[in-house]
Symmetry: C2
Subunit: 365 residues, 2 copies
């Protein structure tokens, strides 16, 4: 099964409606869902962000958006580019925190940045979830300090859903926590499983520990200490996974520390990008190759889309009190629209509630 994020939303969107039968406060009622958007986060803000919001409003009937940023600039950009701001409100924030600035600035010189104001609005229940394409470090800082961690969560994780040969998998953690302890990895596994089950519709998600061999005792001290904890847990733990198997069907949730996860995330992107460039190079090499390329172009594009990480829009932050969804920094309108869709599923399926319950249960044990 291979689904684009869009198809996923339709697929799983219908599923939750059947599954949850109004248990969710947002479900079955007339209440709109309000997503808070950092209009000035990411490389292509505000234009592509606003375009993406417009697309999402058209696509999802129950969506309202609270745009955060300079009211003047938002209105100007919308006017210049004929973007409709229907069903969108604006919350004024004069500043922007850049990718280059230290995340700490969010609590110091950049308290009035669009990101800080947006996350405060989220903490104050002015919306149901947040989406932003700005600095990952600053978003993590804000998610942890402004929105706050779920009780019992040692450290929140950034957990992108990524493409594999067929379908997708979650990488948890992908960079929030460079130094980890075994208990943290077990929490990542729990939180990732809940998200994959509730949002991505994977029944009883298979959890794998990213490691350098498949035998139970393989790996460094972090892995050898984590392995028995995962084995004892109630999770569907399928053991150690070698990175060679990650692009195939090794498991649904790849659990790792944030250092290794970030290496995996970026190498995945790097190798795929380099190889696609090589393939393009072959296609451009001669006139006959160019002609051959034109024949397979459409199928090649479809394939490239399947393996494009942007299809899944970005990464949820797991372990935070409210849904925070990080869109790719280089998001264009379609990717940002996908990210909003994923954030809506994050809200709808009450992942935060499920994680809260699961960890409370873990504490009692």
């Amino acid at each position: 099964m291979r689904l684009s994020a869009g198809a996923l939303l339709i697929h799983y969107g219908n599923q939750w409606k059947q599954n949850r039968r109004g248990e969710n406060p947002l479900c079955g009622s007339d209440r709109k869902m309000k997503i808070i958007v950092d209009a000035f986060g990411g490389d292509n803000a505000p234009l592509e962000i606003l375009k993406g919001c417009e697309m999402a409003i058209k696509k999802y009937d129950d969506l309202e958006i609270l745009l955060v940023g300079s009211t003047e600039k938002i209105n100007e950009c919308a006017k210049e580019n004929s973007i409709s701001l229907k069903k969108m409100e604006i919350l004024e924030a004069p500043d922007v925190i850049s990718m280059e600035e230290h995340p700490n600035e969010l609590r110091k010189s950049k308290k009035n940045s669009s990101l800080a104001v947006a996350l405060r609005a989220l903490a104050e229940d002015k919306g149901d979830g947040f989406v932003g394409a700005g600095s990952t470090g600053a978003t993590l800082m804000g998610a942890t300090t402004i929105v706050g961690r779920i009780k019992g969560v040692k450290r929140p994780a950034i957990a992108p859903v990524m493409p594999k040969m067929d379908g997708f998998f979650m990488l948890c953690d992908s960079g929030a926590n460079a130094d980890c302890r075994p208990e943290m990895l077990v929490q990542f596994a729990k939180m990732g499983s809940i998200y994959m089950e509730k949002v991505m519709g994977v029944t009883n998600p298979r959890v794998g520990l990213a490691n350098i061999g498949t035998e139970d005792t393989k790996g460094d001290s972090l892995r050898t200490e984590t392995f028995p904890l995962l084995k004892e847990s109630e999770l569907n733990f399928v053991g150690n996974i070698e990175s060679r198997e990650i692009p195939y069907d090794a498991c649904d949730v790849v659990v790792t520390d944030g250092f290794t996860g970030n290496i995996i995330l970026k190498l995945y992107e790097g190798v795929a990008g380099a190889l696609m460039k090589k393939v393009k190079g072959v296609f451009k090499k001669s006139l006959k190759n160019k002609l051959a390329a034109s024949v397979v172009l459409k199928d090649m594009k479809t394939m490239a889309k399947q393996v494009d990480a942007n299809e899944y829009g970005g990464a949820p932050f797991l372990g935070v009190k409210k849904p925070v969804f990080k869109a790719h920094g280089n998001s264009k309108a379609q990717t940002f629209c996908n990210a909003i869709g994923m954030a809506m599923e994050f809200v709808r399926n009450d992942v935060v509630g499920a994680i809260t319950d699961a960890l409370a249960k873990g504490e009692e044990e």
Copy 2:
């Protein structure tokens, strides 16, 4: 510049002859070079190993080979497949250590395995270097305990030369040491630089620390402690390298702990393999695609060869008293022949001597 291992050998083979002018005991003299080969190591032993040895003997005038394994089986296999054993001797070893057996068995029940006997022969100067395609763990165990570490070397590293967009890079360590300390990473950097300079002909190799961001203070505690040590060193340290950049031209020696290195090595292979399968899938999708594929097939194969890790034959073990070269476990004849060629360069350019000198110098400082 992009060279296959074969071209590299020709290219750099000529270079060392000019550069070293007889300084090396093997150079300019009539003395043959003798490479010790584990005839029963790897998935395709002994057939492909023997074929590879035959190819190498034909290719390199000054080469002699000491085959280690069951004399009976070697002769039988050679006879059945019409393989010439010219310029090869056989050293009897009745046993074989399998990929599944624990490396410790090399010192216990498998003292008479082809691998153990071969490494003892190397330690006893019965040859100039060793090549084997058997278990990496067992080879490491034998290299460390039978051949021994160079004085001052904390831990030997397994350091494959890998393909990138254009050319190659070294990954050091790629799996010998799961848990590392900062001083070990600095040694990996030194040893890797020497190999890249002496064997691969890279002038003043650029050393990069595999990390999750480019800023000096990025990473986990191992990285933040290693960074200043590398910066202080005499190495050509170019700073932190994100894994996204590894397939491009980030640096010549990627330094990392063996856990992360093994994750990088296998993910590199996994993502490239999965993507090439996807491309093949597109080519096979329809008759018109098949026809188009036939047009680009030759160029596609040339490209695939450029990015094939097997082109470089395997990985040297750095920090061991004598040259030990690990060929890929799935080596076929050509790959194994390449590995022998790389091992010859490892011997010729006296990498062991240079590492010994560099570490002795480091001790004095």
